[in-house]
């Protein structure tokens, strides 16, 4: 078994084990077992970094075996500079989520932990699949555990949220399924993504394919105007679910643009780039403004996620090195930052059971340690230099200015909104005098919560201060991708 297979199947195996044997009577054992699974799952991704060869755009750690012979579907895995970082990121966030849910989940612990472990393996599968059908199977399969996570452990309106999540994303991906089958037939019976990249296609076919993929990925990212499911789902999902959703699941969509839409339909991608850029700018500016007026912390962070993902898609569709690399860096950074933001809200929610901004005020007085972390994450969310949030946004804005000054200007202006809604929320929740009795009764974070937040804080700072390891890995693959996209594939 190769490393990538291990990264996928170790968490899934532990997840299935938990589902099979876990009972609430021995919840402590279940938790430790889940942690063990998540840790091993994370550890097996580390040799990937040491073994990753820089300076080549070729797929690495490739595994290939026949899976469904009849349709020539292969179990074909591999990573390049574009997908590499998402593998350890997914495994890392899973470890964080397992620790963060240690005490807050007391019912059906085994199913909760099992669902997250299985989800982790499936998401790594999405990032590493090099076969179109394998990708689709992983992509869709992630819906099942997430649906259950939201529906079982979610908030009061969880059922609405779970259905909205499932059906909204399913609609998009079904159109992608037709696109995949079409490509299979066009390429003479192959689901190999790399072969699809080379396949000449007519303008009409490319346009239709581009929009079929757009339906799947734009919903997942989510881009304006199909973002409406995200705030509803985030508000109702349990803390861990929100963290994984924001940190990893949204990236599945953005990753899809780079792996499918742009290289398979490059002419259509260039032709419709204006639309993508326009939608991205609306996301960063308009959704940023929407975030400002939210009363619910989770909703605010959810809208902020939409705005940040707008930077990602903006970067991709300006077609230059800085833009695409910036988009990728932003994806990883947002993984850490949004995960951290949701977990911070979770810390407060566990104590007060409210997500309303108005229910807090002056938290710094009772929870000084926690507030320090929250401040760091808030700053990272605004894109303060020295934090992870800065690097990607800055690269995207530079790339945008290079492509077109006005786009760059619009994107840069949006940063102000980001700072505004984040800091205003921070001020209302954490600063000022103690707001009410609930806040007065708060106790500061314990060692477990400290560990979780500290790990994320280290990641946020490390990435902000020294982003080289991230960009180095990406450079060659991104350059190769852009070279490919610049060529016409019309036949």
């Amino acid at each position: 078994m190769g490393l990538l297979s291990l990264a996928i199947w170790v968490p899934i195996a532990f997840g299935v084990l938990l589902l099979a044997v876990g009972r609430d009577e021995h919840a402590p054992v279940v938790r430790w077992l889940a942690l063990l699974g998540a840790l091993i799952g994370f550890l097996v991704t580390l040799p990937l970094y040491s073994g990753f060869e820089l300076g080549t755009a070729a797929m690495q750690f490739v595994e290939k075996a026949s899976w469904i012979e009849r349709f020539n579907v292969n179990y074909h895995l591999g990573v390049d500079g574009i997908s590499f970082w998402f593998v350890p990121l997914t495994a890392f966030i899973t470890v964080i989520v397992v620790i963060a849910s240690w005490e807050s989940i007391t019912e059906r612990v085994n199913q909760y932990m099992g669902a997250f472990l299985i989800l982790s393996g499936l998401m790594i599968g999405v990032f590493t699949a090099l076969d179109g059908m394998l990708f689709y199977v992983f992509f869709e399969a992630t819906l099942i555990p997430m649906y259950l996570i939201i529906g079982i452990w979610g908030g009061p309106n969880k059922i609405y949220a779970a259905f909205k999540f499932f059906l909204y994303t399913l609609l998009g991906s079904l159109l992608m399924l037709i696109a995949l089958i079409y490509l299979y037939n066009q390429s003479g019976g192959s689901f190999d993504i790399a072969a699809w990249h080379q396949l000449p296609l007519s303008r009409t076919a490319q346009t239709l394919l581009f929009f079929a993929f757009f339906a799947a990925f734009a919903v997942k990212v989510p881009m304006w105007p199909v973002h409406t499911w995200l705030p509803d789902v985030h508000v109702e999902a349990p803390t861990g679910g929100s963290a994984v959703l924001a940190a990893i699941m949204l990236k599945l969509g953005a990753y899809g643009f780079l792996r499918f839409s742009m290289p398979i339909a490059p002419d259509a991608a260039r032709e419709w780039a204006w639309l993508m850029i326009a939608l991205s700018l609306i996301a960063v500016i308009y959704v940023g403004l929407v975030a400002m007026v939210q009363k619910d912390m989770k909703k605010l962070v959810a809208y902020s996620s939409v705005a940040h993902m707008g930077f990602v898609t903006l970067g991709f569709f300006i077609f230059n090195d800085l833009g695409v690399s910036g988009g990728l860096v932003q994806m990883i950074a947002h993984g850490f930052v949004s995960g951290a933001m949701f977990l911070s809200i979770g810390v407060l929610y566990d104590r007060v059971h409210s997500r309303e901004i108005a229910a807090y005020g002056g938290v710094v007085n009772t929870m000084p340690n926690f507030t320090a972390f929250a401040l760091l994450f808030a700053m990272a969310n605004c894109g303060l230099p020295g934090t992870a949030g800065f690097v990607g946004e800055w690269m995207v804005i530079l790339g945008a200015v290079k492509a077109n000054f006005w786009i760059g200007l619009a994107a840069a202006t949006a940063l102000i909104f980001g700072a505004a809604y984040t800091l205003w929320m921070f001020k209302r929740v954490y600063l000022g005098p103690v707001g009410n009795d609930h806040v007065k009764a708060l106790t500061d974070i314990g060692s477990r919560e400290f560990l979780v937040l500290a790990l994320l804080a280290i990641a946020v700072l490390a990435m902000g201060l020294y982003p080289r390891p991230f960009t180095d890995v990406m450079d060659t693959s991104v350059a190769e991708l852009l070279k490919h996209v610049a060529l016409s594939k019309l036949n």
């Binding site: 199977v137 969880k158 059922i159 499932f166 399913l170 399924l177």
Partner: protein, 497 residues
């Protein structure tokens, strides 16, 4: 004419018939309330028959018997093998339920089940219009009696009446259509009919006139719109164990006669029947999925879901021939996709009804969706099995139902016809609607609080078979290649001649 080959072609049928008679007699001496003796003997017989069929099927040979009256080919033998296994599973799931409801006062359930299986065998291996018709009648007559088995129950009796009246009408349609074609071609033998039509000497109008009735008759048996009216009523009204018996294995036989009649016999008329199937499929997908949303009774919901699933099977059946050109790859793709779809559908249906039967207790039917509330808290295992079934029916990977839909969609898209691709998109949108009502049941099982805290207990045989059934759905979802290859191989061998 009756030579060794002829006997060889129907050995399994002979075993089944003999044992059905023997078991009917033996049962007179069985006094156990649960008919354990009869039950074990029946399962043993079916196991022997299934093994026999599997041996025939894996040899892959095609041969004819009784002057071309019957055919033994890979496709038919695999279908018979699966039908036998499905019948065994049905009996395992259904026995406790039937015993609790006084349906096992005599051993009729087992005997009738074996006769209905025999009917399916004859349908599947029939190579002659009349043989197929006789098989169909044997199956349906046994089914009428089975539905009415709970004779003191008003809804069951009503369902039996409806089933009988509509079923008889459907048989009449089919017979009328077949007689038209007989009149036009002068033969009841499927191969001869094919040759006669292919020669192009026969008046097209007469053939199409007969074809309409044949398709209508088939549509009744498959239960597709607009001939679907009996399905919801019979599914809901019949005792659940009998619902499974009607809704499971017979679908395999219905698929087989569709292939025998439409493909083996009437392929030269493909352009005509494809249009009819397209209309039936669109109607089924639309009505099945939309009507299922409104149901509160799980059995009725599954009935509508069946209608929509059969719509998918029809889509597969209609995509084999493009513009009247018979292309080997397209034929293989399309019919093997349909076969895979039917086989996996039966497997899923078995597990789903298995859970419904399991939850039913004495005096409590457990057929409302709300009866499943909080099942996950009462029994994670059975809730898991049911969830696997539902996600599979909704076509979510990595469950086997997804690959079934994929194969059908691929057959449609591969035709390259704009209309077919549009149909594929339509089918996909309908399955999104379908996902909603399947998810609703998952929601009830996982998100709602249980109404009773009682544990779910099951006899050992049911527990083992149900767990295996659920696991098989998952395993086939991870490794669907084997069954797909088997279906493709069977179709190629059967239609290659």
């Amino acid at each position: 004419m009756i030579d060794n080959i002829s006997w060889l072609a129907i050995y399994p049928e002979i075993v089944l018939l003999t044992m059905a008679c023997v078991i009917a007699l033996v049962d007179l001496g069985v006094h156990s309330v649960r008919r354990t003796g009869t039950y074990v003997l029946t399962l043993l017989t079916l196991a022997v028959v299934a093994t026999l069929q599997a041996m025939y099927a894996s040899s892959g040979n095609t041969f004819y018997g009784f002057g071309n009256m019957v055919v033994s080919d890979a496709m038919g033998n695999w279908l018979k093998c699966f039908a036998t296994v499905a019948m065994m599973v049905t009996l395992v799931y259904g026995r406790p339920y039937a015993a609790d409801r006084g349906m096992l006062r005599g051993g009729e359930m087992f005997t009738l089940a074996m006769f209905s299986l025999l009917g399916m065998f004859i349908m599947i291996s029939g190579n002659n219009f009349l043989v197929i018709y006789l098989g169909l009648e044997l199956l349906t007559l046994s089914s009428y009696a089975l539905v009415a088995l709970r004779r003191d129950n008003a809804t069951a009796t009503e369902a039996a009446m409806k089933y009988f009246v509509l079923g008889a009408m459907a048989s009449g349609f089919l017979l009328y259509g077949l007689s038209m074609i007989y009149g036009a071609t002068g033969s009841l033998d499927i191969g001869q009919v094919f040759k006669a039509i292919n020669a192009g000497q026969i008046k097209h109008q007469v053939l199409v006139f007969g074809l309409v009735f044949v398709v209508a008759g088939l549509a009744f048996k498959l239960g597709v719109v607009p001939f679907h009216m009996w399905i919801p009523d019979v599914y809901q009204g019949a005792p659940t164990s009998v619902t499974l018996l009607i809704g499971g294995a017979p679908k395999l036989a219905a698929f087989a006669i569709a292939i025998r009649l439409l493909v083996d016999g009437l392929l030269p008329l493909a352009i005509d029947w494809q249009q009819m199937l397209a209309v039936l499929a669109i109607g089924s997908l639309l009505v099945g999925n939309l009507a299922a949303i409104m149901q509160t009774n799980l059995k009725r919901m599954l009935a509508y879901s069946t209608i929509s699933q059969m719509g998918f099977v029809l889509l597969g059946l209609m995509s084999g021939v493009v513009n009247g050109n018979v292309d080997a790859t397209a034929v293989e793709n399309a019919y093997s996709a349909s076969m895979f779809y039917v086989v996996t559908y039966v497997l899923t249906t078995l597990a789903a009804f298995g859970v419904i039967l399991l939850l039913a207790r004495e005096g409590f039917e457990s057929e409302e969706i709300s009866d499943f509330a909080g099942l996950n808290q009462r029994s994670p295992l059975y809730a898991g099995v049911m969830a696997v079934c539902l996600f599979s029916m909704a076509g979510i990977p990595p469950l086997v139902g997804f690959y079934a839909k994929l194969a059908v969609l691929q057959a449609l898209v591969a035709s390259g016809q704009g209309l077919y691709i549009a149909l594929a998109v339509f089918a996909v949108i309908m399955s999104l609607i379908g996902a909603f009502y399947y998810l609703r049941v998952v929601k009830v099982m996982y998100f709602d609080a249980p109404l009773t805290a009682s544990n779910v207990s099951a006899p050992a045989d049911v527990r083992v078979v149900l767990t295996l059934n659920g696991a098989l759905l998952l395993v086939l979802g991870l490794l669907p290649g084997g069954l797909m290859a088997l279906c493709a191989d069977a179709v190629v061998r059967a239609l290659g001649t």
